[in-house]
Symmetry: C2
Subunit: 479 residues, 2 copies
């Protein structure tokens, strides 16, 4: 099996060079490719199918909660981007500018949306007149562009795909509840669907979104101990509404400004899936978003009846709504095993003449190569059971990694010492002052990931200035 | 019912001013709105829901036929756009140019994709090496941008949403078959799903896509007799493959160039739905893509048991997979009737105390206001039957309009005479020469819509030069 060997050798081991391991997987599993435009990726069919599964599941949840999808323009006039002061300061340095339409120079520059708050606000200002028009619960699936200097497929690219929710509410309380509700949707999606454990928390002022009153985030830990901000939910107060003159007549007939939120999750999460679950043989995909959930491999397929039986099994599983690929190509069984391991297919189903004679098949789990000898009677239910165990296992493995790599520090020196030795989450108390946050970044090379909702009390005051602490912060190195 | 009156009055009659009628519907039915960027529209929730239904149905069909979705970059470097001579000549004059990223001027201008042939080709050149890599059957859902001077929502906007299929094949025969297959998918979708009759045919050389060997199209006739090109499918031969150096090792070990297709359908078709089926009361939507298929209106809803019964009926219909809205707002029944007529909801279901007592309801069709008194036993099946009749009726009405407005001409003078009197399709013979096509355009203000697959023989030779005719062409005025 020379091809199998070649393929397995082609992935750099994650312990040798994690960054190279990541890029190898993206390339070899055919998730994405580089494009002729610097920093922009091509999402290939296998990667896009993962994204479509993510979209399908999230979109159904958004709609269940009453959100409606819209299509907003790609471009934002410069004057519109400038309407909210903090927002333009945050985004103007990293946008792409359109200056010409055909051969004519435009009278005003247009930027390619880095995010669409300004467009939604402008639209809201036209359509919201009365409290009866509220809430507005809008969402958009699209790509956005931020002119990043250094890029890596999925993790940081000039263009990326995402959804951006934008909602408008009668009261601050309602908007705050929506902000938290959508953070919860993201957290549940990561944990239950993607098997990625996340911390839920609020960002420090320094790390919050440009123009937000408060930014909430879910933070996942990658296999190498670095953090991935996996979804954010922002509460805007009425700042944007005032800047864009979105006013409505309230129940008491007075003119009021609505309170606003926005929230987003992007193709970046595919990078999170790779780095949370992958291993030296390639991808390990959560069943809910795997483009192929079961790879059916006929063994000795030239023998009479094998392909027929394999097709029957594949059709049965498809009828039970599994995503199945039957590989009856000329490649050796060994090559196929390596190929579907590389592609992270949760289960491999082997079926040969002897299995058929015994009315059974062999199922092999991708995550730990555990083998199951399964009777063909009740196959569907058995697969369901194995997939549930599989999801639980990869989730537990990620929890275990996070546990091993989570530390507590009582001083900045301790934070430095831990950081010199390893990478992970460091819990430490904080007084709330920017100086301390900056000093920790400067000395230990760590950024505040979030102030988790689940707080712990570590004695000794702020890890930096020793003054009374306001909260426990989780620090780390982030993608 | 002052509100109902106001609403009905607010739509311009289609016979008075068809263009104004169209814009009124787009605005009042809340399909789309203008945006702060000239020529770019906002697709509002109700319009976007129609687009999502179109996407869902087409996407399932593409996938059933083996196509895979991908995500290609938004931007194209100028040098890449220039690789295929005809293609760049066709598109360069109407693209938007990005010249700056953040505060830096780019070393090469990038255009926002007007279509993505060049990006697909560049990618294909990297991933296709052998005949084993073929065919490649790719599709992308995205928005594209063409810097149009005059724009109208859905029909012609600088930015529009679409899908673009791009396929690569081993032989010319396979690629030609794919081109026709996908034209067939579009035609069947229009006729069966959208109830829009279409002509299937090939474009003249003058009207074909920039860079194509041949362009096929489906042409629909709008209520006012003007044509709407509703979908196109292009055969490229190996011209792009040669320009982009996409070569593969063939079965005979020689180096060969693959043959290519592309095909697209866009949000423009929503304009087609409006102008094919709509009337002076607003939209008339085909059931398959209507965001709401049945509007349940409780009558005398303050009376005991009415809302309960209405909710039960709505839930029953939802369980049977209908898209249902129960309107229990304070608005009058009359206002609601007008509102859902405006929005083109196929069926209105009225349910009042007497209906409940008699275990029945009243169903009113949007297209012709026909009333049905339906027993609540077997309601689902009855609705299915009425919707099938409804689709058939709106299709027949469109066929009837096309029949009434289709003419045959034996001379250019005749074509002019017909065009002065009315708008529609004019069948006339053509010799195949560009001069004649241009002369007809110049004298009669008509463009060749297509050379239909279903040819007829009209005696007298080319309608223009009287020389022997090659084919019958359908001429018209187009959106």
């Amino acid at each position: 099996m020379p091809e199998q060997k070649k393929m397995v050798e082609a992935i750099t081991s994650m312990d040798v060079d994690f960054a190279k391991w990541y890029t190898d997987i993206v390339k070899k599993a055919e998730l994405a490719d580089y494009s002729p435009v610097r920093g922009c990726m091509i999402v290939r069919p296998y990667g896009y199918a993962i994204w479509e599964n993510i979209q399908r599941i999230l979109d159904a949840e958004f709609k269940r909660l009453g959100h409606e999808n819209v299509g907003m323009p790609l471009l934002i006039p410069e004057s519109l981007l400038q309407k909210e002061k903090d927002h333009v300061e945050g985004f103007a340095p990293e946008v792409a500018w359109v200056t010409h339409g055909g051969s004519e120079m435009l009278s005003e520059r247009l930027c390619i949306r880095p995010t669409s708050e300004t467009l939604f606000c402008e639209h809201f200002s036209h359509i919201v007149k009365s409290y009866r028009d509220l809430p507005k619960l809008y969402n958009q699936w699209c790509s956005v562009m931020r002119w990043e200097k250094t890029t890596r497929p999925f993790l940081r690219t000039a263009e990326f795909w995402w959804q951006e929710g934008h909602t408008l509410h009668e009261t601050a309380g309602e908007a705050e509840a929506e902000t938290l509700r959508m953070l919860g949707v993201y957290a549940d999606f990561c944990e239950n669907t993607l098997a990625i454990p996340v911390l839920r928390g609020i960002k420090t002022d320094k790390e919050k979104f440009a123009g937000a009153v408060s930014t909430y985030a879910i933070e996942a830990m990658m296999h190498d101990g670095r953090a991935l901000q996996s979804g954010t939910s922002h509460y805007f107060g009425d700042g944007f509404a005032k800047a864009f003159d979105i006013a409505f007549q309230g129940r008491d007939n007075t003119q009021q400004y609505p309170h606003q939120t926005s929230w987003g999750m992007s193709t970046r999460i595919i990078g999170g899936i790779i780095m949370t679950h992958g291993d030296d043989n390639g991808l390990v995909l959560p069943p809910a978003v795997a483009p192929i959930q079961v790879a059916v491999i006929p063994v000795a397929q030239h023998k009479e009846g094998v392909l027929d039986a394999a097709n029957k099994v594949a059709d049965r599983l498809r009828a039970a709504s599994y995503r199945v690929k039957l590989d009856d190509s000329d490649n050796s069984a060994g090559w196929k095993y390596a190929e579907y391991e590389m592609k992270g297919v949760p289960l491999r189903l082997e079926l040969g003449p002897r299995d058929i004679a015994e009315n059974k098949c062999v199922i092999v789990r991708r995550d730990n190569r555990q083998k199951y000898f399964v009777s063909l009677n009740g196959l569907e239910a058995e697969i369901e059971k194995i997939l549930v165990e599989y999801r639980r296992s990869i989730y537990d493995k990620a929890i275990e990694n996070r546990k091993t790599r989570t530390f507590t520090a009582g001083s900045v020196d301790e934070m430095i010492k831990i950081s010199e030795k390893t990478t992970g989450f460091i819990k430490a108390m904080w007084c709330g002052k920017l100086e301390c946050e900056l000093l920790i970044k400067d000395k230990a090379g760590l950024t505040s990931r979030c102030i988790p909702f689940e707080q712990e009390e570590i004695s000794g005051g702020c890890v930096c200035c020793k003054e009374p602490a306001k909260s426990m912060v989780v620090w780390g190195k982030a993608y």
